[in-house]
């Protein structure tokens, strides 16, 4: 059973990112969107956590990165950028969607 987890809050504002990766199991995916995209940026407090989450695939919503002036060149290695259509695909591909708010 693979789940899609979504995080829409900045990891510097709330602990929903930490809660999410504490729960996410290997084979699941995490989509970072809205202020959650800050967790996808390299050089921050989340980089080590993203890299340590073995078997968990990370995605970030491109339009929300662009809205915040965040460069896709600076995302943590392995994080894939998707658009809203990609978000829909991820929701469809996984057996359930868990929203961490």
């Amino acid at each position: 059973m693979s789940e899609l987890h979504t995080v829409n809050k900045s990891p510097y504002e709330k602990n929903s990112f930490d809660s999410c990766i504490g729960y996410a199991q290997a084979g699941s995916a995490v989509l970072l969107f809205e202020d959650g995209v800050y967790a996808a940026m390299s050089g921050g407090a989340t980089e080590a956590k993203v890299k340590a989450a073995e078997g968990v695939k990370f995605y970030a919503l491109g339009p929300d990165m662009k809205a915040r002036g965040l460069s896709v060149d600076r995302v943590i290695e392995g994080v894939e950028i998707v658009d809203y259509a990609g978000f829909v695909d991820l929701a469809a591909e996984h057996s359930k969607v868990v929203s961490w708010v």
Partner: protein
């Protein structure tokens, strides 16, 4: 695939009303079915036809109404959340003795059972908001 959407955040509050709309639109454009959109907590504010945002800003309520019209969406507003926040249709105005209504006709007020049914009937329930 059959999706349902839950929105817990008001319009112009942060970004959830926008994210939910753009997700719903993308899902419909990909040929998925939206079984129901359920507006809960402050999300009920997305249904008032009396909003007048500046002309150069997006009109969140109108956007939902137009998408609802185009795809015959079931846009459901939680009754208890609506009563607390002053979202009123004809039935609620009559029942509670109010002198006006403000809900956009593309939305309907109903109970939490509609959310449970949406969760049961849909392949995926996606939640937006706080």
């Amino acid at each position: 695939m059959k999706f349902s959407i839950q929105i817990n955040e008001g319009p112009y509050q942060h970004q959830a009303a926008d994210s939910a709309y753009l997700f719903t639109k993308a899902a419909l454009e990909k040929g998925h079915e939206i079984f129901r959109v359920f507006f809960y907590h402050d999300g009920v504010g997305n249904s008032t036809r009396l909003t007048t945002p500046p002309q150069d800003d997006r009109n969140i309520v109108k956007r939902w109404a137009e998408l609802g019209e185009q795809y015959s969406l079931d846009l459901v507003v939680c009754v208890a959340a609506a009563q607390r926040r002053g979202i009123v249709d004809d039935g609620e105005a009559q029942r509670n003795g109010k002198d006006a209504t403000n809900i956009d006709p593309h939305f309907r007020i109903s109970g939490l059972g509609q959310l449970i049914e949406a969760a049961v009937q849909s392949d995926r329930l996606v939640v937006f908001g706080d």
